[in-house]
């Protein structure tokens, strides 16, 4: 996985597979405390203790009731998404947590040392939102993007996006029309760039944000 926004897309796909109707993504860049964190919270069917323990294991995929008889699909497939992100976080001096409650939902948290040489850049988070809204437009997506510039910059930046607010503004017009999806992508990426300009974090981290 090349960048963090691809990991986010991948983790959100788990939420979608778990039947979530709302997915909240939080991204926080905090170069002053050398921290980069992200979380994905959903209201899907969650995991019980056994699945939760194994979810961090590579080569585990649980297909639930879809495959009562351990079909060939379940044997062949293995889950890589969560282990890949966990590895990326721990390799960068960060933390990884997976919390879940059956019937309530799941929250995944991953952090990285902001300045760690192997910390992946965020990448095209706008395209991640486009992909999710295109693939599953019925779901509510909320994105929070925060930058704490730290003492060197003295400023912070907060951005929020809520697909339900957009849907309300659109009325009858579907949110997954191509030109709307492209606008969402570009608006989010523009906001990220503006935030970095304002807080000067791009310069500070040698454009590795």
């Amino acid at each position: 996985m090349e960048d963090l926004s691809l990991h986010i897309l991948d983790i959100a796909e788990n939420s979608i597979n778990a039947g979530a109707t709302k997915i909240v993504i939080r991204i926080a860049e905090d170069p002053g405390s050398d921290n980069y964190s992200l979380s994905v919270e959903d209201n899907g069917h969650g995991m019980d203790g056994g699945v939760l323990l194994k979810a961090e294991d590579p080569f585990f995929t649980y297909d639930g009731d879809k495959n009562k008889s351990k079909s060939k699909k379940q044997k062949k497939r293995f889950g890589l998404g969560i282990p890949l992100l966990k590895q990326a976080a721990t390799e960068c001096g960060g933390e990884f947590r997976l919390d879940s409650e059956p019937g309530k939902g799941t929250t995944l948290f991953a952090s990285f040392r902001f300045g760690h040489i192997d910390r992946k850049p965020l990448g095209n988070i706008g395209a991640t939102m486009l992909s999710m809204m295109c693939g599953h437009p019925e779901i509510r997506y909320v994105l929070f993007y925060d930058i704490n510039g730290g003492p060197a910059s003295g400023s912070s930046f907060h951005y929020g996006f809520d697909s339900d607010a957009l849907k309300e503004a659109l009325g009858e017009t579907p949110v997954n029309l191509p030109e709307i999806l492209l606008m969402v992508r570009d608006a989010i990426n523009t906001a990220v760039m503006e935030g970095r300009d304002q807080t000067k974090t791009a310069i500070k981290s040698h454009n590795r944000v």
Partner: protein, 127 residues
């Protein structure tokens, strides 16, 4: 640089309301992009963005683009299944932005499957 404004949304709404087709299900085609971990790490997001760009550039509103999980051919990702209404579905593999745009022009709009990129013809139940 683009900013999402209420004015922009109004314009899109007006144009959409004048031409809507998708709402009543009479769409030209459905394209399913495979979005498992394997697909995403191989470039599925770029493929989806490129297809959405092609639709917007050509003002095509009667093609549904959606996402599904891993198709079980992880080494052949990124993959997409194109279902033209009334025809057998075609699964395409090892896609990128250029290939999906060609599929858009030749298959989705032109009606001729791009054999070079096709994996299986007409076996919609293998995923």
């Amino acid at each position: 640089m683009q900013r999402l404004t209420i004015d922009d949304l109004k314009k899109i709404k007006e144009r959409y309301e004048a031409t809507f087709t998708l709402r009543h299900g009479n769409h030209r085609a459905r394209v399913i992009i495979h979005m498992g971990t394997c697909g995403i790490s191989a470039g599925a997001r770029t493929v989806m963005s490129a297809l959405v760009e092609a639709l917007a550039e050509n003002d095509v509103k009667d093609v549904i683009v959606t996402a599904s999980g891993c198709a079980g051919f992880c080494s052949k990702e990124p993959m997409a299944t194109v279902e033209i209404t009334g025809q057998a579905p075609v699964k395409y593999c090892q896609l990128d932005a250029v290939k999906i745009k060609r599929i858009f022009t030749e298959h989705i709009m032109g009606g001729d499957a791009v054999q070079e990129y096709a994996l299986v013809m007409g076996s919609e139940n293998s995923y």
